[in-house]
């Protein structure tokens, strides 16, 4: 698993000649081109790549562009850089991710309850401040532009904010005081990247501390989440269905931009449906009396079923999942449905962050008194500083990440602990990630 949301690290190169023929290509590009019906020595068969290469050759300057390429059943998002080199054009293709699920607008981005919004460049100097809002809290906003973020406010705990700024990471609700008035505020920001994923600054908000920080514990009665589920599921399903048929232009031709909007609406609807599932789970696991009926289950069987459920997604991404052999059994005490939910979540993440052509190892074994399922991926890994955060509620390494809602791993760990076990991660940047679900031995003591 990688830092969530970041594209895979793979950069594939290719060389295209003056006539648009593919002279050479790295394996990932060669196979993408072959699946589109092309070959080395023939014209580039992926139209979007051919277009970028031709444009770079005709303009005779480097051209960088994000493109979406249909690859068998899935759409791939690629970042293509084409650079003229004599008579030929060199292609460098990065990104390599499936067209992401609809991306939720982060609270930071809209900042409805923010006193003001700001943007900063990579040197953490302010390039934009909403002037009216800043003046309303007594700041000379225009005078702050071009100044370091820290000339605006004094952090209450300088360490974490300085770390986030130095590490070019997002941060949320860091306590601080405005310079001058000394008013308490909460400072949040998301990371702003260009199409190629390069860091270009932060976009953030400042909220007055008198407006309490977002509540950390939901105070939702079961009737509320239950009602939410019933009230929202049917209309959302309908919105998704209608938006899908609009996007497919089922009722006649519409401008492509509107078809795209409709596809966004459908994606947003699916995201909300998944969120409702998670909120219902969240409401259940956060009740003080939450307990799971623990029985004897076979973790190897759980792992094989999870691999079966996600087999299509894995093959779309070109990821191989190695699962426990059919004969293997690993007894543990747990709740079958919930254990399967945890492993599906872990495996889904591992597939999402694996490079195309990568392998995810799914293994079950007994170690001492515990039964373990491990999910090991070849993604870019998770920095030590982020390893605790990914298990927090709404905790994400990059809040701008598409898909997901920051609840999956939080719920998975709570479920593991409710079964008397635990969920842990070991990872280093660049070295993949290993998630381990550990459960107690089967109730009758047999392993």
């Amino acid at each position: 698993m990688s830092a969530p949301g970041s594209p895979t690290g793979l950069v594939a190169h290719a060389l295209v000649d003056r006539a648009g023929l593919l002279l050479a290509a790295d394996p990932a590009l060669a196979s993408l081109n072959a699946r589109a019906g092309g070959d080395i020595g023939a014209a580039v068969a992926v139209p979007q790549l051919a277009t970028v290469a031709r444009l770079a050759r005709r303009l005779d300057i480097p051209v960088s562009r994000g493109v979406t390429v249909a690859d068998e059943d899935a759409d791939l998002e690629l970042w293509v850089r084409a650079e003229p080199d004599g008579d030929a054009v060199r292609l460098a293709v990065s990104g390599w991710r499936e067209t992401p699920a609809w991306r939720p607008a982060t609270a930071v981005g809209s900042g409805m309850d923010a006193a003001f919004r700001w943007e900063a460049d990579p040197s953490a100097r302010l390039t934009f401040v909403t002037l009216e809002g800043a003046m309303a809290v007594g700041l000379d906003a225009a005078g702050l532009l071009g100044q370091p973020l820290t000339s605006l406010l004094v952090p209450e705990d300088a360490g974490p904010l300085a770390d986030a700024l130095a590490g070019r990471r997002a941060f949320s609700d860091r306590p601080a005081r405005l310079r001058g008035s000394g008013r308490g505020v909460w400072l949040s920001a998301v990371v702003h990247r260009d199409g190629a994923g390069a860091f270009i600054g932060w976009r953030g908000t400042v909220r007055l501390a008198d407006t309490a920080p977002a509540p950390t514990e939901p105070a939702l009665p079961a009737t509320f989440t239950g009602g939410l589920d019933r009230a929202l599921r049917a209309p959302l399903t309908r919105i998704v269905a209608n938006a899908d048929s609009m996007s497919a232009a089922a009722d006649g031709p519409i401008p492509p931009a509107y078809a795209d909007y409709a596809a966004d609406i459908a994606g947003a609807g699916r995201h909300l449906l998944a969120l409702i599932d998670d909120l219902v789970d969240l409401q259940a696991i956060e009740r003080p009396d939450f307990a799971l009926a623990v029985e004897r289950i076979d973790l190897a069987d759980v792992a094989r079923r999870a691999a079966g459920l996600l087999g299509v997604r894995a093959s779309e991404r070109g990821v191989t999942v190695e699962r426990p052999n059919a004969g293997v059994a690993v007894s543990a005490s747990g709740d079958f449905r919930r254990a399967l939910q945890v492993v599906v979540n872990l495996l889904g993440n591992a597939i999402r962050y694996s490079p195309p052509g990568g392998t995810v190892m799914l293994a079950a074994r007994v170690e001492g008194a515990r039964a373990l399922v491990t999910v090991v991926d070849e993604g870019p890994g998770i920095a030590p500083a982020d390893q605790a955060r990914i298990f927090e509620k709404f905790g994400r390494v990059d809040p701008g990440e598409e898909g997901g809602n920051g609840l999956g791993l939080y719920i998975a760990r709570r479920l593991a602990r409710a079964m008397g076990g635990d969920l842990t991660v070991e990872s280093a940047p660049g070295a993949g990630a290993r998630f381990t679900l550990a459960l107690g031995p089967a109730p009758d003591g047999r392993a």
């Binding site: 444009l55 990579p122 040197s123 302010l126 390039t127 009216e132 906003a141 225009a142 071009g146």
Partner: protein
């Protein structure tokens, strides 16, 4: 049926007939509107919002100031009438007074400018961490630094400022629109005085164009500095600075250069870029960035013509732009005449 109600029904029928006719004319206009003249929904929405916000701000200012003046002289009832009158936007729209060429031109330019600036691909040249304007705001040259800070602030302002000439026309139009039908001499005087005050403070906000032109003049880029400055301004998404640097180099005013930069065809922009002697790779990079930001542009057609464009002699390019460099009133008159003769 009484005579009154028959009369009423007849009037209503006539009214309905007139509205049906207006709808038909509107449908004909809509059907035969060329695609490239049609605003996108988003642009239309933003233009309408900018127009309403601008008029709303002027209206609130005039009503309150005039009401204060009236209250000070004891005319409390007149002040109350002024504060509660019907909105100026609806009245001016119905009267057709907002179908003003200069006003619509400025509104659309402001909105398109913002759309394109926001969509420009960010490109950082080299390892520099500080962005262009932040760096310029910190240089020792105080004229440059203060202009850079003013541009940072103008770019942060949420409401775009329309050109002074357009605002002046709008101020008087709004003054007329808020004037109650029963206005007495004191009310007229109060409104006129309030409008005069709005006009006099209006020159104080130089706006995005003013700040950008001040910075471009302060930098006063030499020929060899022009290419990196223009490319970095685009890469930092400071479209106003890009326009101003071009205008400064070619001796145009901001609005003229902006019109050329915003046009999707780009024909006048290519001439302008050649007039300031930019080379082929620079013109190609500018065209690529603008086409990435503006889906109306055709980069393939541009690539087709790039060699020809790059070969145009700078002096000839400048000469070809002469009609665009004339004083605005003369240009508008030429345009109006050409339009009538085309019909």
């Amino acid at each position: 049926m009484s005579v009154d109600s028959i009369h009423d029904a007849t009037l209503r029928a006539a009214d309905a007939r007139a509205r049906a006719d207006a709808r038909l004319l509107g449908a004909i206009d809509d059907l035969f509107l060329p695609d490239d003249a049609r605003l996108t929904e988003r642009t239309r929405l933003m233009v309408v919002r900018l127009l309403h916000d601008t008029i709303g701000a002027i209206e609130a200012e005039l009503r309150q100031r005039a009401a204060r003046l009236l209250t000070a002289t004891g005319a409390v009832a007149a002040a109350g009438a002024l504060l509660s009158g019907p909105g100026a936007v609806a009245r001016l729209t119905a009267a057709g007074l907002l179908r003003d060429e200069a006003c619509v031109e400025a509104l659309v330019a402001r909105v398109r400018h913002r759309e394109i600036a926001d969509a420009l691909p960010v490109a950082r040249e080299g390892p520099e961490e500080m962005s262009l304007l932040v760096r310029l705001a910190a240089v020792p040259d105080r004229v440059v630094a203060s202009a850079a800070r003013a541009l940072l602030a103008a770019d942060s302002a949420e409401a775009a400022v329309l050109p002074a000439t357009v605002r002046q026309r709008l101020i008087w139009a709004v003054a007329a629109a808020i004037r109650p039908a029963t206005a007495d001499m004191a009310t007229d005087r109060a409104i006129a005085e309030a409008a005069a005050r709005s006009l006099s403070v209006d020159g104080e906000d130089e706006g995005l164009d003013g700040a950008a032109m001040r910075l471009a003049a302060a930098i006063d880029a030499r020929r060899e500095e022009l290419t990196p400055l223009l490319l970095e301004a685009l890469g930092d998404r400071r479209l106003a600075l890009f326009v101003a640097v071009l205008a400064q180099a070619a001796g145009l005013d901001y609005a003229q250069a902006e019109a050329m930069v915003l046009e999707p065809e780009g024909e006048r922009l290519w001439l302008l870029l050649r007039a300031v002697a930019l080379d082929r790779p620079t013109i190609a990079r500018i065209a690529l960035a603008l086409s990435d930001a503006d889906p109306r542009r055709d980069i393939e057609a541009f690539a087709e013509r790039l060699d020809m464009i790059a070969a145009v002699d700078p002096a000839r390019a400048l000469a070809a732009l002469t009609p665009d460099t004339l004083v605005p009133a003369f240009r508008h008159a030429i345009r109006a005449l050409a339009r009538t003769e085309r019909m």
